[in-house]
Amino acid sequence: MARSTRRDDDTRRIHNRVNVVRAEVGMSRAQLAELVGVNPQTIGALERGDHYPSLQLAMSICEVFDLPVEAVFSRTPFQSIAASYRRDPEVPARGDQS
């Protein structure tokens, strides 16, 4: 894995669910990258949490999916869809989004 370009530590981490919204519309990383004017590797790094996007890139991504920024990026981890339906809240949610 490429080294992270993030400057901050986990206490100021920015979580995203770009991969979820991208999968929902069946869009590849390359297609999204072309729409927002970056390389597919940049989208990959973003989804892995190796890179925090600029405001410009974050808003461009949200415009592609017609979503508000807070629906895609957050300071707190997004709950996975499976976790929201799980009956036993004690069961660890392995699929929570980064």
Binding site: M1, A2, R3, T5, N19, V20, A23, G26, S28, R29, A30, G37, V38, N39, P40, Q41, T42, I43, G44, A45, L46, R48, H51, P53, S54, L57
Partner: protein
């Protein structure tokens, strides 16, 4: 990496197949560059510059440098306006290391050339005669390090096109 939610493009090789071949290619190219530069340094210091072996080592270093640039899509050496924000951050990080190495190399060359001039004044011009080769072997790592470093750091990264 492909999410389990996604369907890979038809004909696309799975990421797990691409990654080992990239790692192997990067390791080979970086190793060739290091060995080539080491051979170049030894031959230059031994006074065997401009021999076929020295020329071969130079070609190996040049080819591996070119290989690293190709494997990293030339991110480390492209202009800032030609890379996106993630690539710019990667480029900045490896260039900082290259800059520090260039400073160290310049300082070492200053000391070596000072010694060479003093030796030449004392009637022993051998080291001074090798000065152009020493400058070359100092220049090569300073110039090529960003691409080599970036290739090495991204050896496990797939192309993320899926």
């Amino acid at each position: 990496m492909t999410s389990p939610l996604e369907t890979p493009r038809p004909g696309a090789r799975p990421a797990r197949d691409r990654r080992p071949s990239r790692r192997l290619a990067v390791t080979g190219v970086v190793l060739a560059g290091v060995l080539g530069w080491t051979a170049l340094t030894v031959l230059s210091l031994a006074g065997h510059a401009n021999t076929w072996g020295w020329g071969l080592a130079l070609v190996v270093v040049g080819a591996s440098w070119f290989g690293c640039r190709a494997l990293t899509r030339d991110v480390a050496e492209r202009r800032a306006s030609e890379v996106d924000e993630y690539e710019l951050a990667q480029r900045q990080r490896v260039r900082e290391v290259g800059y520090v190495l260039a400073l160290v190399v310049a300082l070492v060359l200053y000391v070596v050339l000072t010694v060479a001039v003093n030796l030449a004044d004392g009637g022993r011009p051998t080291l001074l005669e090798r000065a152009p080769d020493l400058v070359l072997i100092g220049f090569l790592p300073a110039a090529a390090l960003p691409s080599f470093l970036l290739a090495w750091q991204t050896r496990d990264t797939d192309d993320d096109t899926d």
